[in-house]
């Protein structure tokens, strides 16, 4: 597990910075909830005037007057977007950085198979996502407790599971792309993540492109769909887990045979 330990060491600073950054924004947003609650009449008028734009951010489906409704809206914007970007950046450089930084010539002349390298890097990536989730969830939970408003723990856990699943899917997709790249492709990862988030906005705005629901993991992990009686949509959960597994297999088959560019 040398590579796993090494990757955790290399990635922990980035994971902590991203998580603390997102957690701070989340805490600040939550801390203004009492004022939001008191000004609901004004906020509802404002959301109505926003029309389709409010729909894009699921404001038409969430009750901002309840702490969980407000949290789902904030988590959807901050944690999903922040977590999605973090996952894409981490995943897309996971394999290609060895070639881009010329460390492949140090790592691969050791008696380790490329499959074992990929497995350990995948495990490290998932653990770093867990670190991100643990920090952001703890900060949010403490803030919700501090607000003193009653909230559903089931909804809270589902929202954070959604963020983790989103990171998992984006991470696997980007890890797969990383197997085909030989240089730093952070820009591509960021673009991909933002593009998929934009797809969610289009779906919510009901522009009539249904196929987008199958293309973006933001759709079924959206916090607005995970509060109240609803839970993860079984079909989309299976689809995304299946796609993630397929991405990993494609990534490995490419990585096992590729010529390392040093």
């Amino acid at each position: 597990m040398t590579i796993l330990r090494h990757e955790l060491k290399q990635g922990r600073r980035m994971a902590i910075i991203w998580a603390v950054g997102c957690a701070l924004i989340e805490v600040l947003s939550l801390s203004v909830f009492p004022k939001v609650k008191n000004g609901m009449t004004l906020i509802n008028q404002m959301l109505e005037s926003m029309g389709t734009l409010a729909k894009a951010f699921a404001a038409d489906r969430l009750d901002y007057g309840t702490v969980m409704g407000y949290y789902a809206a904030e988590a959807g914007n901050i944690l999903s977007l922040g977590g999605g970007l973090f996952a894409a950046i981490l995943g897309i450089s996971m394999l290609s950085k060895e070639e881009g930084r010329h460390t492949a010539e140090y790592l691969f002349p050791h008696p380790v198979s490329r499959l074992w390298v990929l497995v350990q890097k995948l495990m490290a990536m998932l653990l770093l996502f867990l670190t991100f989730s643990a920090i952001t969830a703890t900060a949010s939970w403490l803030t919700l407790r501090w607000l003193g408003e009653p909230f559903s723990m089931v909804d809270f856990v589902q929202i954070h599971m959604g963020v983790y699943l989103l990171m998992l899917h984006l991470g696997c997709l980007c890890l797969c792309i990383s197997a085909f790249m030989s240089r730093d492709s952070t820009g591509l990862g960021i673009g991909l993540s933002l593009g998929m988030y934009f797809m969610l906005l289009l779906i919510n705005m009901e522009v009539g492109i249904d196929a987008l629901r199958y293309l973006t993991p933001y759709y079924y992990t959206e916090a607005a769909k995970l509060v109240g009686p609803d839970s993860f949509h079984s079909f989309f959960l299976k689809l995304n887990l299946g796609l993630s597994a397929a991405f990993l297999m494609i990534g490995f088959s490419r990585y096992a045979t590729k010529d390392l560019r040093i």
Binding site: A104, E105, H110, P111, D259
Partner: protein
């Protein structure tokens, strides 16, 4: 005893670009083998193919009797590799590089790395990112040596090292070779190959031109003929088959000759010169001969 390295028509193409072409090479165990060629000739491509970093397009190769295709992990346990330009992970100290390497090999070789650090005058507590090119080179050397491999594959090991450390390097190589290790090194410093290697091969534009003992390469039929007190070589002598190259300057004529000596001596008899020297050429001249003419030995 299996060969340390054996390649048969090993070929690597990068699309239409040339890598190496039909390289057949044999390196015996216990040998010190120099692989000579200028930058871009294919030295690193051959080495990276042997290590499995890139896949051969055609041909076959084995290292220590193990196929590079099917037993890559097994053979890498017994090989130490030093790249020509080593790069390490950020925020790592020198000792972390050796520790990670030892863990990846599942072999406790920390004590050996300390001994080698001492010999190469390298501080193991320094950050790798702060090291000079030469010191990074030392890290790469120690990393290749610390697990006491049976085969050392070194890509331009001495470039960037100061003369004192080069001496230490060759001392260590001699010791390891006496203990049974095979040393395969690529270089474009011909003098070091001539002084330290028993066998050598010359590669040119991806093709192996010659592979022989260093002694035989020097003993090649070619001779360096120096005539002092003569400003110009007559046309008749110049046209002799076997005259490879002629240099005329400062009342001295130097020519590289690869042919029957009698016609040359007959020609020289008719000339007025003050001194005649016929010697085996330096490896450098052999190399330049092969390289410029592209002839096969």
């Amino acid at each position: 005893m299996a060969d340390a390295i054996l390649t048969e028509k090993l070929t690597k193409r990068y699309g239409r670009a040339r890598g190496i072409s039909e390289v057949s090479l044999q390196v015996q165990q216990g040998d010190v083998f120099g692989f000579i060629g200028p930058n871009g000739a294919g030295k690193s491509t051959l080495i990276r193919t042997l290590l499995g970093l890139i896949r051969a397009s055609a041909g076959s190769a084995s290292v220590l009797g193990m196929s590079i295709r099917t037993r890559r992990r097994d053979l890498l346990k017994r090989v130490g590799y030093m790249p020509s330009e080593a790069a390490y992970y950020p925020r790592m100290r020198v000792k972390d590089v050796f520790r990670m390497s030892a863990r990846l090999r599942r072999k406790d070789c920390e004590r050996e790395s300390w001994v080698l650090c001492d010999r190469f005058e390298l501080d193991p507590n320094r950050q790798v990112s702060d090291l000079s090119f030469g010191n990074k080179k030392k890290v790469a050397i120690i990393n290749a040596l610390q697990h006491r491999p049976e085969l050392l594959i070194l890509d331009e090991p001495t470039s960037g090292l100061d003369p004192l450390i080069q001496r230490v390097f060759w001392d260590v190589m001699r010791e390891r070779n006496r203990e049974g290790a095979t040393i395969f090194l690529s270089s474009h410093v011909l003098s070091e190959v001539q002084h330290h290697c028993r066998h050598a091969a010359i590669i040119r534009e991806g093709r192996l031109l010659v592979s022989d003992t260093v002694e035989n390469l020097g003993r090649n039929a070619a001779r360096r003929v120096t005539l002092r007190g003569l400003s110009q070589l007559p046309e008749a002598a110049r046209r002799l088959p076997g005259v490879i190259e002629v240099h005329e300057h400062d009342n001295e004529v130097t020519l590289l000759y690869n042919g029957d000596m009698h016609p040359l001596v007959d020609q020289l008899n008719s000339l007025q010169y003050s001194d005649l020297l016929i010697a085996e050429p330096e490896l450098e001249e052999i190399f330049m001969h092969f390289y410029e003419k592209g002839a096969k030995a």
